[in-house]
């Protein structure tokens, strides 16, 4: 006979974060995606990252375009405003909203169709402007919501049940971001919770646009073993560049002089610690990032990690030289010049 395990009251007390909230407070509505969808794991990682970082949800805004991925902002951070916009046009909406209120923390979720097909133009311009927000691409290489067509990230030779074999070369979202002068370029896998969470936290802390291309298997249309966007392929082939951990600004970091570790300090004082795996990788070397991504692309290798970071580049908000007070909150007195100013300008006509 075994004794019934007893638990103390203290052990049962819910764990609270920095601002005194339980993790469940960061949930959203129930997901309506297919069981096992990679996107749901990403939502969970966002919930976890936001909770652990102690984000105040009313300071966060969620953006998305159209597609399965873009439904997900309804499923996390239920106390944050969300804007489920148009197909491929989340970047412009997010740009406008974040300029209107510079205090907001933006988290955008898009898909490979939404970003790399219909939305490639807006995506690249948002990268170019370095609008400060997190841009997650839930990349499964297939159109889910319209039932199984190829997207622009589908591999050449990829086979789909109805669409047949894809004859075209894929676009690589990380390379596209890099070419558009991105200041934060990373790739992860929905099945790699630890790495994804560290990258999400670093992306939130980054003072510019953080592009996070996350391979997120579509269990319904593109999860067969040969697909490079499947769970099986990911689990077997994911090759991390480094072992990542994020140390938030409110925690002490001890920087040791280990040969196998590199630390990158982010704008808010937090740190990303990159632990060397096979070989040393310097994520501030842009040429190395290009080469590494291109090699991985040619070898169809699922290489993950932080490819590139430049934490000091001024972001779009810095460039616009606006008042500290958000534009949206400026009063009439602050936005209507004087009677004399009008008289003067009319006299100059």
């Amino acid at each position: 006979m075994t004794a019934t395990p007893t638990r103390t009251a203290a052990a049962r007390a819910p764990k609270l974060n920095l601002i005194g909230l339980e993790k469940t407070a960061y949930k959203g509505a129930d997901s309506t995606l297919c069981n096992g969808c990679g996107h749901d794991s990403i939502s969970s990682r966002i919930i976890n990252a936001a909770w652990e970082m102690g984000l105040k949800q009313t300071d966060v805004v969620k953006f998305s375009g159209i597609g399965c991925s873009s439904k997900t902002p309804a499923y996390f951070l239920g106390m944050s405003h969300g804007f489920n916009s148009l197909h491929g046009r989340m970047p412009s909406v997010a740009t406008g909203a974040l300029v209107a209120n510079r205090k907001l923390i933006g988290i955008g979720v898009s898909g490979d169709g939404d970003t790399a097909s219909i939305g490639i133009g807006q995506f690249k311009h948002m990268v170019r402007r370095n609008v400060p927000m997190v841009y997650v691409v839930e990349n499964n290489g297939v159109y889910g919501l319209t039932k199984g067509q190829f997207s622009a990230t589908a591999d050449q030779g990829q086979k789909l049940k109805y669409a047949g074999t894809n004859p075209y070369m894929p676009l690589d979202i990380c390379l596209e971001a890099l070419a558009a002068n991105a200041t934060f370029v990373a790739r992860s896998f929905a099945g790699d919770a630890k790495q994804l969470e560290a990258l999400l936290k670093a992306a939130i802390a980054h003072n510019g646009l953080a592009v996070l291309d996350v391979i997120s298997p579509c269990v319904t249309f593109n999860n067969h073993d040969e697909s490079t966007k499947s769970y099986a392929f990911g689990r077997e082939h994911e090759t991390p560049l480094h072992d990542l951990s994020f140390v938030p600004s409110f925690e002490q970091i001890e920087i040791d002089d280990y040969d196998d570790e590199t630390e990158v300090q982010l704008h808010d004082g937090s740190w990303l610690v990159l632990k060397k795996l096979d070989s040393h990788y310097d994520p501030t070397d842009k040429h190395l990032a290009y080469r590494t991504l291109e090699d991985a692309r040619q070898q169809q290798k699922l290489l993950t990690g932080l490819f590139y970071i430049e934490p000091q580049t001024p972001n779009f908000i810095d460039i616009l030289q606006m008042t500290d007070k958000p534009l949206a909150l400026l009063s009439e007195a602050e936005t209507r010049p004087s009677r004399e100013a009008l008289a003067r300008l009319m006299a100059e006509l």
């Binding site: 405003h81 046009r89 807006q122 949206a328 006509l349």
Partner: protein, 611 residues
Amino acid sequence: MSVLLKEPQTEQVSQLIVNDFNINVATANGSGSQTSNNMLIRSLYKMGIPVTGKNLFPSNIQGLPTWYNIRLSKDGYLARRERVEVMICMNGATVAEDMESVEPGGIILYDDSLPIANHRKDVKYYPMPVKTLVKAANLPYNLQRYIANMVYVGVAAYLLEIEIDEIKDALSWNFGGKTKPIELNWSMVTAAYDWAKENLVNDQPYRVARMTGFNEGTLLVDGNTAGALGAVFNGFTFAAWYPITPSSSMAESMITYATQVRRDPETKKATYAIVQAEDELAAIGMVMGAGWAGARAMTATSGPGISLMSEFVGYGYFAEIPAVIWDIQRMGPSTGLPTRTSQGDLLSAHTLGHGDGRHPVLLPADPTECFEMAGTAFDLAERLQTPIFVLSDLDIGMNLWITKAFEYPEKPLDRGKVLSAEDLAKFKEMHNGQRWGRYLDVDGDGIPYRTLPGTDNPAAAYFTRGTGHTEYATYSERPHDWENNMLRLARKFETARKLVPGPVIDEVEGARIGIISMGSNHPAIVEARARLRDQQIETSYLRVRALPINDEVRAFVEKYDKVYVVENNRDGQLYEILLVELHQVGNKLISVAKCDGLPLSARWITEQIAK
């Protein structure tokens, strides 16, 4: 009552024609003629003469024909007039037809190096030695072709008796007091003037003379500048745009003025952001994001941009996001004539987007109304939580108009139904125990309450979507929820009917005929009515200033036997909208529509109504 201050004197001409003729200047574009033409019109304006300038320019940077038509009208008629009495020919490519276009009795000033085939007997010719004068002036080579245009300013000033000091003042204004360009241009003007005085016999009848009674309390300005000032003085905080003729100068003027007067006095930081987007899809997307987040957000574009904005405008209607969209109309469909005017976007703007929906549309008739409606549009957008269109056109937007000086806006900004964190906490108590719902109509006017992202209340958040939603902003495919929401939006449109600017009506006792028009047609309608009166045809006139129309429009149509709907497009788009709205009295409506790229003329309108 306008008064001539000085009667011009002359011995050579039996009858003078003073302040009542057209000057047409034919040049090649990119030759700097805009400066010369502005000097002419500004001098005339400063002499108190009612004057209007229509720039007919090509969609091109350099070398194609362009005309600047200046009308002087002592009686104050400012519409485009088709006849030309004083022709200034500077372009060999069009000189033959330009000379043919002059009215009998008119005069022609021409660059004497142009190839002239035959001389008409019924007009007077004044050759101008442009090349010789330019050579004598010893100008820097790169400026010669620009400053050459000052020759016709000097010769015209002599022949027409334009006050030369006004030309100097105009030059000084144009070059912002910069001595060197002022001197270079001024010396060319005076050289030409002196040459004309020495060598020409002024035996022609056209003269200008200083007058009073019309230009006092006015400005000489284009509508894009006016609309930009209106936005800057009515609390705009965000603008996104993409360059497109004829709207670009509106955004550029906003940049100019906002830089000057919209900076925090202490930190010098901007109280606005203006973003040049990568295309019109992004421009409207940014405006949607900014408006949603609480900025007073706008864009300015023209027809092709409106087409691209379609999906987002439908989204804005359905998700209820404030936005102001200026459409400086040009000729469509397609690329059309990018540098010509029309009123061809009325229907598309009013109904833009797929599925059901109507958008309020404001219709300014002159730069002063552009200034005023810039503020009205923001107030309506935030009050109604919906995209608002302002339909100007190339004629208002880019041509110089004499227009009433702008009045400082006294009305407080209307920021609409926005709940703060505290408002939200009290919402239930204030609304009979009703919980706040983003799309819940608690006031019965179809307008719900909104919260802005960043509102420090855990209950403030909602999920904005273009998909079907309940009153509490949750996803719904239920037929009832869909219909309930759309019927509320229709109710909101009825509220808009009461809030948009009403028509301006001028009723004449005993008139049996009514005229309805909009926008830039106004000066031509005013003149056409005077001409009709000369033919014993009295008319009443209603100018629609916004869609949706209100009951005053219906009452007006009911009162008259026939109502002519005058507009600058092919299909009679305002007529079509009125026909649907006023179908019970639709048989009284007669469409008078024309679209050839030019502003309507009083002559054409008069003919249509008198026939």
